[in-house]
């Protein structure tokens, strides 16, 4: 069962990622990225991270991708011209990516002490997670909340029309 679910959603993930690269219209890329993120949520659930699966759907597939699709529609982003990247990307980038993936795959496949996951593994409950988060890591949590607040203010300041030159169009 775990094997079937893993292959199904890993396939969805890879298909969505490849579709993101092949589509020329940004809205199609955004929708395939939503497929990738939702299948990743199922994979998190298979690995026993129930809170992260929910947060992945709510934060990534919900909030962030809605922001992306909203901006795509707001800017009326059309079809992009298809190029295969610059010359530097073709000559240096793609061999480098191939080498990177080969090195990573070799390292992963040669690691001997990796365990395996099955459906009857214990699930990290939200209770365990929040106990560590709010006891040991309370300060980083609060700092992150300040960071998000600053990001909101920065986003509003950046996206507002007219930067103090009196040409505010409403």
């Amino acid at each position: 069962m775990h094997l079937i679910l893993f292959f199904l959603f890993a396939g969805f993930c890879l298909a969505g990622a490849i579709n993101l690269l092949l589509q020329t219209h940004p809205i199609n890329s955004a929708l395939s990225l939503i497929v990738v993120m939702t299948s990743l949520a199922v994979l998190y659930l298979l690995l026993g991270a129930e809170f992260l699966a929910a947060a992945q759907v709510i934060v990534y597939a919900g909030a962030i991708m809605v922001l992306f699709t909203f901006v795509v529609m707001l800017l009326n982003a059309g079809r992009e011209e298809r190029t295969l990247g610059s010359k530097a990307a073709a000559r240096l980038g793609f061999p480098a990516i191939t080498v990177l993936f080969a090195v990573l795959a070799t390292m992963i496949l040669h690691a001997h002490d990796l365990a395996s996951a099955s459906l009857n593994d214990d699930i990290t409950s939200t209770q365990d997670l929040s106990r560590v988060l709010f006891h040991e890591l309370l300060l980083p949590f609060e700092v992150t909340s300040v960071l998000v607040l600053i990001a909101i203010l920065g986003a509003v300041a950046l996206a507002r029309a007219g930067h103090g030159d009196g040409s505010v169009d409403r």
Partner: protein
Amino acid sequence: MNFQQEVPLAWYLLLSAALFSLGIVGFLIKRNLITVFMSIELMLNAVNLSFVTFAHQWHAVKGQIFVFFVMMVAAAEAAVGLAIIIAVFRARATLAVDRIDLMKL
């Protein structure tokens, strides 16, 4: 018993590496500012999958909490990044990265 089958964690890590590589390929070949940004989000997600896999491997809760922090920072980054994209579009009236090659307006 077919329902007791186990999946090696190496497969999850391989999937994560593949998604990360696809993210880099997208970063290189996409020519739209928004899709380049989406490729960065794809890479962040790939790294998150690695974190969750290792958290499962070592039975460590802190790995999952790190993913939670990465999600929060990614949300902040997406908000600021998209605001910058809107500002760039307002100044240049284009989203093609080939035509956005100057820092000054």
